[in-house]
Symmetry: C2
Subunit: 585 residues, 2 copies
C-alpha cells in the first residue's frame, strides 16, 4: 500500500535547499502530489514554510535529514533550571508520539532521504536565572541544528527556553514507513520572539464549572501555541465558585454545589502550573454587573436579586447585581481583591465593569434612598464605586484592566495606565487607542470563539443564529491594526480569544477552542508580516495549520477538523491559487 | 450546604398525584424553586412531564417513592431471550451511574419522601421470539410499576423490550443526598410506541474515518434516544474505505490509508452490534456522483479524475465521478451491490444519485464518443445508469432509497415503491409526497447537524457563515407535515438527522450530534402531539431535555450544554412564560 522510498525520491529531488527565500511554488508541486497522495504517503508536501506553529520570526532550513535517537539528552546549564527541567520531562513524551496511519504524511521536504547523522543531544543555555513571569518577560530564543545533529537552544529567560522547546518538538516528525523519528531539513537556524506581549484566552468558569484537571489541560495546550495569558473569568451571575477565606458563605451559597468550587489551594496550584508553562494567570473580578451569585451568600450586597421575570433587569438570567450603594458591598469587593492580589502574583488584575443594567439599580429602594440622601445621580454613584474598586486594585501594585464600556459607554475617568479590553467589535480598538489607552483586543466579531450556536440568551425559543461563528480564517484574517495610526497600533499590547460559558463546557471546549485559538495564537506571536515585511497569509497558513491540528490531536486535544480529511491529506489539491481570500467584512 | 429533607418536604407537599392530566404549573412552582435552588439541591422540579426522553405516548405517574435495590433482577421468559439478556447487562450498569454533585438535582416531584417499598425485580414478557429487525418491526411496549415495587415490562418483540428497558433506566434516579437510587412517582403506567418507523442518523465515514469503536458509541447513544436507523454513508469522493472482496484495489488505493478501512468482518460486527440495540444499518452506495475515490483503484471507471482546478467539475475537491458509459463501471457498481446486499441484511438500500456534475461527464471524451455512437443525450445515459443500478438493488429484494434530485431535478422515472430522501430544504417534502412517493425527511435547514461552521467548501478563504447552525429548538420546532395534506403526510415514513464529514470527526461528533439529535429523536418517536392531541412544545421539552443531556454526559457522551449551567440547575428561573416560541422561519 505504501510507496517505496525509491519512488518517493524521484519526486523529492525536485526540491532543493528550501529556505524562506526560495522554495517550490504550489503549482510546481501540484502534479506529482495529486498523483501520489492517494496511493499512500505523499512523496512531498512542499509547503513554503516549515511545519512550525506559530511560525517563527526568522528561520532557515536545509536539505539534510537527521535521525532522532530513541531518547534525546538535554544538556547545558539551562536544562538544569527547575522550570526547564520539568518542561524537558513533558517534551520527552510529546516529541516521541507515534501514529501508525497519520492523515498528515511525513513531511518529506528534504532532498536527502538518507539520514546520515543522528540528533542525540540538545544543549540549552539560559542567560538569566530569574524566573519571574509577567508581561515584560523576554520569551525570545534561538535554535540551531547543524547538519551533523548538534543542537543548541539559547534564550534570555527560562520562558524563552520553553518556547524553543516547543518549536524543537514540532521539528521532530515520525515516519510511519520507517517507524522512526526524524528532523527533516537540517541544518536549521531559527531566531524567534513574539510580536505581541499579551496573548490570552479568557475562560468563563461561572456559567459552567471546569475541574482543575480540565483547566490544566487548557493551559497546557495554550503553551503549545505559545499563548501566555490565562484570563480567568471565575465569577459571574450564574455561580460563585471561589472559596473566600473571609467570606466563605459566598461559595457555600453561590456555587453550583460544594463540588463546584475553587479553593486558594487550587488557585496556587494553577498559578504554579501556568508558570511552569509560561502562562500567566490573570484574575477577573466581575463587578458590579454580572454578579447575582454574590447575593445568595450575602443578600444585602445585591440589588434586584432573582427578580422575575428577569427581562429588563439582566442580560440573561438570573437577575441581580451588586448593590453599589451599600457599604458592605465595598467591604466585600475590596476584601476579595485583597485575597486575589495575594493568590495571583501577576501584575495585571481585571476589574471588569461591563454590562451593568441601570434599571436593576434604579428600581432598588436602598439605592434610590442613598441617591436622594446624598444628592447623587446613579451614574455618579457607579463611577464612585468603580473608581474606588480600581484604586484598591492599584493599591496592590497591580495594573488595572477593564472592559471597554467603562471608557466608551460609562465614561469613567480612567487613569492612563489602565488597560482597556475591547470586545463589542473591531471599531472599539480605534476608539480606545485614539484616546491614548493601551488595549487588549477581543473583538467579538472575530475572536469570540463561543458564538454561532444560537442566541447565548437562555430561553429555549431562540430561532436566530445569534452572532456568527468565527471560522478559523475569519479569526486569522482579522487585523487589529485596521484604521489605526502607528501610534495607536503601538498601544495594542495584545489580544485574547474568549470562551464564554453559555454553550461551552468541558464536553465541547476543546473543539470550540482548537484549532481556531491556534489561528489566533499565530497572529499574536508571529504577527501580520515576517521581519522581511512579507504578509503572513491564510493561504500559506492553512498548509501549516492542518498538520498542527493533527499534532494537537495526537497530543490528546479534541480539536475539530479544518475540512474534509482529503484536504488534510492532500492540501495542495484543495488549497490552491487562484482562490484569493476576500477581505473580511 | 444541602437542604435537609424536612425542608424539602414543606415544598414538596404542594404537588400531589401528578399525572399527564393534572400537575403543577410553572408559575406555581417558580417561587419556591427560585428561592431554594441556589442553596443546594432543589426541593422540587415540577415539570409537567416525567424525565423520560423521548416522551412516551401514554404515561401516568403517582405520588409514591420506591427505593431501588443495589442490583435489579430481571425475570420472565423475555429476559432470557439473547438480545434482551445482553441489553439487561448493559442497563445494569447504565441504571446505577452515580454523580456526587449533579447539575440536575434529584427529581423530587413525588409527595412521598419516605420510600416505603423497594423495587427489586423487573419481569419481562416478550410475545414473539422472532428477532428480525426491519422497518415494520413492532417497537411498542408497556411498563407498569406498582406502588409496592412490582415492575412489569411487556412487548410484542425484543425490540419493544429494548425500548422499555431504556425508559425504565431513565425512571431510576440517584439521590446524592441519600446516596441511594430511587424511582419517584410510582405507581407508573406507561404504554408507548413510535410515531414514525424510520428514525435515523446519517454518518459520513468517507470525508473523515471513524473507527469501529467510535461507530459503536454512536449507535449505542442512538439506541438510548430510541433512534433505529444508522444510515451509513460509507463512500464518497474523498476516500473509499470499504474493502471489497471482488475489488480490493478500491480500498487499497482509495482509502486514506491501510488503517482507514472497513472490512466485511467489521460490517458484520456492526450490523450485529446495531441489531442488539434495535438499530438497523442501512448502507448508502454513493454513485454515480461523489465518487472520485473509486477512480484511484480502477481508473477506467472514473471521469474527470483529479481535474485541476477542480471548480466546475465537483462540489468540493477532489474532482471525479463514475464514468457512467463504461461497461466496467456498471460491473463494479453492481458487484459491490451484490456484496453489500449480503453484508447488510436490512431491506432498505440507499442508491444515492445526488449532486452529479454534468460538466465532468460532458468533458469526458469516452462519454462524448459513447453518446455520439449511441445517439443518446447525457441525461438519457444518466437515467439508464441510475435505473439499472436501482433495478439491481431491487433484484436483491431491497427497497430502494434515493436522494431527492433523482426525482425532482433529474426526473428519473422512479417506481412508486422508491423512498425519496429530502435534503435540500423543507419544501421538498411537499414536492415529493404530492407526487405520491414515500419520503424520509432530512431538510438541511433544520436537520443537518453539521452546518454552521463556515462554508463546507474546502478552500481556506471562507468568510461566509455557510448554512446556518440548527439550534436545538430549530431542530425541535420543525414540523415535517407543514403544508401537507393528510394523504401526503402519511407518506412520511420518518426522518434522518445528517452528520456530514467536512467539519466533523471523532473529535467533535458527540457535541455536534448531542443533544440536538435527541431533540430530533423525540419528534420522530413521540411526534408532534400526544394521543390526546395536545401539542408537544419546546417549552415543556426543555425541562426534560436538560436532564436528559446531563444523563447522556453521565453515560459518557460528550454532549454540549443547552445553556449556562444556572439554567440546567434552575430551569424554572430561565425558561418561563410569557416567552412563547416563535414559529420557525
Amino acid at each position: 500500500m505504501l510507496v517505496g522510498l525509491s519512488s518517493l525520491l524521484c519526486v523529492a529531488v525536485a526540491f532543493t535547499g528550501l529556505t524562506a527565500a526560495q522554495g517550490p511554488d504550489f503549482e510546481a508541486a501540484t502534479g506529482p502530489v495529486a498523483n501520489q497522495v492517494v496511493h499512500g504517503i505523499p512523496a512531498v508536501n512542499p509547503v513554503k514554510e516549515p511545519w512550525i506553529w506559530p511560525l517563527p520570526q526568522n528561520w532557515k532550513r536545509g536539505p539534510k535529514t537527521l535521525k532522532v535517537g530513541k531518547s534525546i539528552k538535554f544538556k547545558g546549564s539551562g536544562a538544569r533550571l527547575p522550570i526547564v527541567s520539568k518542561a524537558i520531562k513533558r517534551y520527552q513524551s510529546l516529541i516521541f508520539k507515534k501514529e501508525d496511519w497519520p492523515m498528515i504524511p511525513y513531511n518529506w521536504t528534504t532532498t536527502d532521504s538518507k539520514a546520515r547523522n543522528t540528533l542525540t543531544t540538545v544543549s540549552i543555555e539560559v542567560a538569566s536565572k530569574n524566573d519571574r513571569l509577567d508581561m515584560d518577560t523576554d520569551e525570545s530564543y534561538s535554535l540551531d541544528i547543524s547538519e551533523d545533529g548538534k543542537t543548541s537552544l539559547k534564550s534570555k529567560t527560562v520562558y524563552g527556553a520553553l518556547r524553543g522547546l516547543e518549536t524543537f518538538s514540532q521539528l521532530v516528525q515520525y515516519n510511519p514507513e520507517h517507524r522512526a523519528f526524524y528532523v527533516p531539513n537540517a541544518p536549521w537556524k531559527i531566531s524567534d520572539y513574539p510580536k505581541y506581549k499579551h496573548r490570552g484566552i479568557l475562560l468563563d468558569t461561572s456559567r459552567h464549572y471546569y475541574t482543575i484537571a480540565e483547566i490544566e489541560k487548557i493551559i497546557e495546550s495554550m503553551s503549545w501555541n505559545k499563548l501566555n495569558v490565562f484570563h480567568w473569568h471565575m465569577l459571574d451571575s450564574t455561580s460563585f465558585p471561589y472559596v473566600s477565606k473571609k467570606y466563605p458563605q459566598l461559595a457555600a451559597k453561590g456555587a453550583y454545589s460544594p463540588g463546584h468550587v475553587y479553593t486558594a489551594k487550587d488557585i496556587k496550584h494553577l498559578v504554579q502550573f501556568g508558570k511552569e508553562r509560561g502562562v500567566r494567570l490573570m484574575p477577573e473580578m466581575e463587578a458590579p454587573g454580572h454578579s447575582t451569585a454574590w447575593g445568595y451568600g450575602i443578600p444585602e450586597i445585591a440589588s434586584c436579586l432573582n427578580t422575575q421575570p428577569y427581562m429588563g433587569y439582566t442580560i440573561q438570567p438570573p437577575a441581580g447585581q451588586l448593590n453599589i450603594a451599600h457599604p458592605k458591598t465595598k467591604e466585600v469587593v475590596h476584601g476579595l481583591i485583597d485575597e486575589w492580589a495575594e493568590l495571583f502574583p501577576d501584575s495585571f488584575f481585571h476589574a471588569a465593569g461591563d454590562e451593568v443594567i441601570m434599571p436593576c439599580w434604579a428600581n432598588d429602594t436602598y439605592i434610590q434612598k442613598y441617591l436622594k440622601d446624598n444628592d447623587m445621580t446613579l451614574m455618579e454613584l457607579f463611577h464612585k464605586f468603580a473608581i474606588e474598586m480600581e484604586d484598591h486594585v492599584r493599591s496592590k501594585g497591580k495594573t488595572v484592566m477593564v472592559w471597554q464600556e467603562m471608557l466608551l459607554e460609562y465614561h469613567v475617568d480612567l487613569p492612563k495606565d489602565t488597560v482597556v479590553q475591547v470586545w463589542i467589535g473591531a471599531s472599539g480598538v480605534k476608539e480606545v487607542t485614539e484616546k491614548g489607552y493601551r488595549t487588549v483586543v477581543s473583538a467579538q466579531d472575530h475572536w469570540y470563539l463561543d458564538l454561532g450556536f444560537g442566541r447565548p440568551r437562555s430561553n429555549p425559543w431562540a430561532e436566530v443564529q445569534g452572532a456568527g461563528f468565527n471560522h478559523w480564517n475569519r479569526v486569522y484574517s482579522y487585523d487589529m491594526r485596521t484604521n489605526l495610526t502607528k501610534a495607536e497600533a503601538d498601544l495594542i499590547i495584545g489580544a485574547e480569544a474568549t470562551m464564554w460559558g453559555e454553550l461551552a463546557d468541558a464536553n465541547n471546549i476543546e473543539d470550540r477552542l482548537w484549532p481556531r485559538a491556534a489561528a489566533f495564537a499565530e497572529r499574536l506571536w508571529s504577527g501580520y508580516e515576517n521581519p522581511k515585511g512579507e504578509a503572513l497569509t491564510s493561504a500559506a497558513a492553512i498548509m501549516r495549520l492542518l498538520p498542527w491540528r493533527e499534532r494537537m490531536v495526537l497530543r490528546g486535544i479534541r480539536a475539530g477538523p479544518l475540512g474534509q480529511g482529503f484536504c488534510t491529506r492532500n492540501p495542495l489539491d484543495c488549497f490552491q491559487p487562484p482562490y484569493k481570500p476576500p477581505t473580511p467584512k
